[in-house]
């Protein structure tokens, strides 16, 4: 069962849709970017809509073209990357840690 919204012309997506998706993607967009994105995504989605005409009722999905089972390595410890090398590119360090803004504030 397709979502209700699928039945209207999905190719025209709203400003709210753009803002919702940007939020899911953790992507800040300026007002101009939202405007442009609304037009461009609508055009691209309209082109993509052509897939609706293809009969895939008896076709399975392909996620990967190679037939590999789960690939397991031997459970053997190998030397980890040195901490200094792992931290060297960090934007903000608080040795020996990465520093990020507070995630859980006290009292919340």
């Amino acid at each position: 069962m397709l979502p209700e919204r699928y039945h209207r012309r999905m190719a025209s997506i709203s400003r709210d849709d753009v803002e919702h998706v940007a939020n899911l993607a953790r992507l800040h967009l300026t007002d101009d970017e939202i405007d442009r994105m609304q037009t461009q995504l609508s055009n691209i989605l309209e082109a993509i809509e052509t897939l609706r005409d293809v009969d895939t009722s008896h076709v399975g999905p392909t996620a990967s073209v190679i037939q590999l089972e789960n690939v397991m390595r031997d459970d053997v410890a190998t030397p980890p990357m040195a901490r200094e090398a792992a931290l060297a590119n960090a934007p903000v360090r608080d040795d020996p840690f990465l520093r990020v803004p507070t995630v859980l504030e006290e009292g919340r």
């Binding site: 993607a25 461009q40 052509t50 040195a82």
Partner: protein
């Protein structure tokens, strides 16, 4: 050797000259560095070079050539040969203590979000070419995160096509294609997710091969669309492509999708003989809107192969025109997941906001360019609740159909002949405001990624003074056939000495 200037010769020619002591790796490296310096502002091909490190590697190669004698270099055909890596391959730039490694090169993926990033480890490609003794010159410009067909999406400015500086070199591996065309490197590696090796090879008159998915390790290749990405070389001859592919192919336990199947001797496959082969020409690849000069050059190449003794047959791949839509769901969906790692915490740009959520969104908003944002949005939309089945699963189902059609045709023919790109190099700026027009550039290449097959682009003449590429597509893990057909064509067609008018000594 040919009469071309030293920097414009093939890997095979300079490797032979090295073995005979007629030149040195230092001389080759200096010739490339001189070209890079001369053309830096004009072409914008390289994002980073370290001349001192390259010359030191060249001197080490020269010493190995002197002591190895005739046997050693034969076993290592790339020993002493200068090359470039697309800046999507990470290159070791830190030592175990996290200190900058002398000669280590940064890795940007053409993105502002990774400006100045120094990798603590090497890509499998860099390691393989180090083992082969090749000399790394530097990292080439590319579309941001390999998303683009013109190299105009690089955060570090567009690359210009050495054939005509007003035009694009193709993308996303545009710096690698232009560097090889312009005599700045004897070979270069690129990556191909929907055509990013073959299309720029076509637009710059170089040879570019995308191997079978799983043939070359993706370890240390910055991920765009993990079920489609493959690495491969740009070269000035098919034989060179066979040599370089042999050096980078093979199983790598660090890439779980790398397939453990033996690497054949690709050079030995170049028999020059296509008599008795059946080559399919899919009518759907001669697409509407294709430039007449491209169509006539490709049709002439098909005729040439027939004259060489191959049987050419009309075949049909009916879902070809669904390739674009399928690709522009699957690739952005995978990209939106892969690019979630750029969060301003462990590496790369950070907006420095006081609140975590705000820091994610501001960092990504400031660090990604317009095309990357478009694809993240498209992919996130296609994967979002309520649309997943309608878009993503649907595209994966059509992927099954596209692959099945290739399998069916390739059961009856040895390889498929097609145009690489429906057009020659277009003018910089012409398509930047129309994403769909840009996407159509890859209409003939992206079905091959969807099916995971090997494909090569080999020059087949000029149209309006700009190069045209013939694409040869083969069965999975049958790079030998693809190379054999392309090589036989190249020998007969005589375009292998084609160099841009701006090359020269």
């Amino acid at each position: 050797m040919s009469e071309l200037p030293l920097a414009d010769r093939t890997v095979t020619e300079v490797a032979d000259a090295l073995r005979r002591g007629e030149t040195s790796s230092r001389a080759l490296t200096e010739a490339c560095l001189a070209r890079i310096e001369r053309d830096a502002e004009r072409l914008n091909t390289f994002l980073s070079i370290d001349a001192d490190a390259a010359l030191a590697a060249a001197d080490a190669a020269d010493a190995a050539l002197a002591t190895d004698g005739a046997e050693g270099p034969a076993a290592r055909p790339l020993l002493g040969v200068p090359y470039a890596l697309k800046d999507i391959f990470v290159t070791r730039a830190l030592d175990a203590e996290g200190d900058a490694l002398p000669g280590g090169l940064p890795t940007t993926a053409g993105s502002f979000i990774l400006e100045g990033y120094r990798s603590p480890y090497a890509s499998a490609a860099q390691e393989a070419l180090e083992r082969a003794g090749a000399v790394l010159l530097g990292k080439t410009n590319c579309d941001e995160f390999a998303m683009g067909s013109s190299n105009e999406n690089s955060a570090y400015g567009p690359v210009r096509n050495p054939w005509n500086e007003e035009t694009v070199p193709g993308g996303s591996s545009g710096g690698s294609s232009a560097a090889v065309a312009a005599g700045e490197a004897y070979f270069a590696l690129g990556t191909d997710t929907g055509g990013s090796i073959r299309q720029p090879a076509s637009l710059t008159g170089t040879v570019g091969i995308k191997p079978t998915y799983g043939r070359v390790s993706r370890f240390g290749m910055i991920a765009f669309a993990s079920s489609l990405d493959q690495a491969g070389p740009f070269t000035r001859s098919v034989r060179d492509a066979a040599v370089v592919l042999g050096a980078i192919a093979g199983h790598d336990p660090r890439d779980a999708t790398s397939v453990d199947t033996p690497v054949p001797d690709y050079v030995a496959a170049l028999t020059g003989d296509v008599r008795g082969l059946r080559l399919g020409v899919p009518r759907e690849y001669f697409v509407e809107g294709m430039e007449p000069g491209v169509e006539s050059a490709v049709r002439a190449a098909v005729d040439a192969l027939r004259e060489l003794g191959a049987e050419t047959v009309d075949v049909s791949l009916p879902s070809t025109d669904r390739g674009l839509a399928t690709y522009y769901i699957i690739a952005p969906a995978e990209a939106s997941a892969n690019l979630a790692r750029y969060d301003g915490v462990r590496f790369g740009l950070s907006a420095g906001a006081d609140e975590l959520w705000e820091n994610y969104t501001r960092t990504r908003g400031a660090g990604f360019g317009p095309e990357v944002k478009r694809r993240i949005m498209l992919g996130t939309y296609a994967l979002s609740a309520g649309y997943y089945d309608a878009y993503y699963v649907k595209a994966q189902q059509v992927r099954t159909l596209i692959k099945a059609e290739f399998d069916e045709v390739l059961a009856t023919v040895d390889a498929i002949l097609a145009p690489t790109s429906p057009n020659v190099a277009f003018r910089i700026g012409d398509k930047v405001d129309d994403p769909l027009a840009m996407y159509l550039n890859d209409a003939c290449t992206l079905p091959v990624n969807i099916a995971g097959l090997p494909g090569i682009s080999v020059p087949c003449g000029l149209s309006d003074g700009l190069p045209v590429g013939l694409q040869v597509i083969g069965r999975a893990f049958d790079e030998e056939m693809v190379l054999r057909v392309a090589d036989a064509y190249e020998r007969a067609a005589g375009f292998s000495d084609l160099r841009p008018p701006t090359a020269g000594a």
